[in-house]
Amino acid sequence: MPRVSDDVVIVGIGETPVGKLPGYQPVQIQAWAVQNALADAGLGLRDVDGLINLDPYAIPNSMFATTLSEYLGIKPTFMATVDVGGTVTGMTMLQQAVWAITSGYCEVAVVVYGENTRTGRPENTQGLFMHTLMGGEEWEEPFAVQGMVVPYALVAQRYFDQYGAGVDDLAAVATTTRAHALLNDNAQMNKPMTVQDHRNSRMISTPLRMLDCSLVSDGGGALVLTSRARARALGACPVAIRAMGMKMTHNSIAQLPDLEQFGMADAARDAYESAGMGPEDMDVAELHDAFTISVLVTLEAIGMARPGEAGAYVRSGATSLGGRCPVNTHGGLLSQAHIGGMLHLTEAVRQLRGAAGRRQVEGAKRAIVSGNGGVFSVCGVAIFEAA
């Protein structure tokens, strides 16, 4: 089985405020997140010799790792800009950092993503406006498919028809996630949501309503990694990356495989095998939730619920704080902010440090994090453990 490395650990996490950061450009937001993560780690910019980031989607930049390094006044010996897709990119950035450190190219690496997706988008834009091409345009745009909602709506409708699921299953995810966001001071959404609120929200692309869709957010998140030895010297409370699994099956919605063939199940199996663990060993889960349907499909793929039963599993309270394995304790992309999954990673670390305050999962030792880019096109699963 592939292994990440036991010799490198996460020693710092940083988040900027999320929501609207008017006037801020991507480089400023990423620098802010990096400074917060370094302060959390007890390190300074002079310690950083590795930097890995994702360039903005809304207005893409070239050479963004060097742009950010220059802005920060650092001169790394390892740098990369990584774009694997959506919320998997953060995991790939962690992999790159681990391997750069274990092979001696750097000693302290920061991974970061953030941009002004919300205030930086053009006026009168629906959803996430991107100047970035994603490769499937010739086979999508002639049929009026643009953006991510319609593709996920097609997944949701198929899921409904295959398993007899329905709007109540989506609503359960939306309301559970909102309840968690209310316990997070750094969340865009701060009002409770009822099942009726969900049902009353505007239909976007059947069966997905407004409250099934993730937020469009300004903000950034960063993590700092270093060797176990250096972490000991820092006196940090480190978190280990026990395992990671990844699988790509397709790119655009036009090439969507059957639900049973999504790569998330393969990614989860590889991660569990690599860690020598199973779903029953996980205390908390931070799962890709660009749309409510994503959580249902992922809960089944990672073995938390049987096929078609994820909605009932969520309604049982298993994914709520106090439940069997709470999901998206920070409020997720649906109700905290959509920062490309970076805040799923920082939240997992926070939970394993026992530092999540009002939303702490008691005694959390192991966290599972999932990401997906595109439409379950590339899937990643990571298992973190208190080190």
């Binding site: 010739e138 999508e140 002639p142 049929f143 009026a144 643009q146 709506a153 097609l154 976007i204 036009a254």
Partner: protein, 137 residues
Amino acid sequence: MSEFTYFAILPRPTVDSEEFWAGCNRGQLLLSKCGACGHRFYYPRRLCPACGSNDLGWEESAGRGTVFSHSDVHVSFYGPSWESQLPYTVVLVDLDEGPRMLSRMVKSDAPPVRTGDRVQVSFIEVDGQKLPFFERA
């Protein structure tokens, strides 16, 4: 609904797809067929995604298939000028020959399409390019 005016972002054909879009203009839905392994695929590209062979030809699809999934779009992602199109129905269709394809349903007074329904291709012309939409079979 014969007076309905369809809006579409037209494809910009590439060396891979020129023949496909020309086929649409002749009223043919063309699939790529691999001469080495027999795999039929959509969309066209310079190699067979099943075996890597460059020995490729075209085969006309009967244009019939089964709905894998569908969604009615209620929001314009292309600005206010597209609101005349709403709602429109996007479908994933499993063609009888094998490939799955993304398309859009022809505007119709017929009952809404459901997963598992049979559909057939119907070419809709927008600004000189015929596009392979679908209608109930």
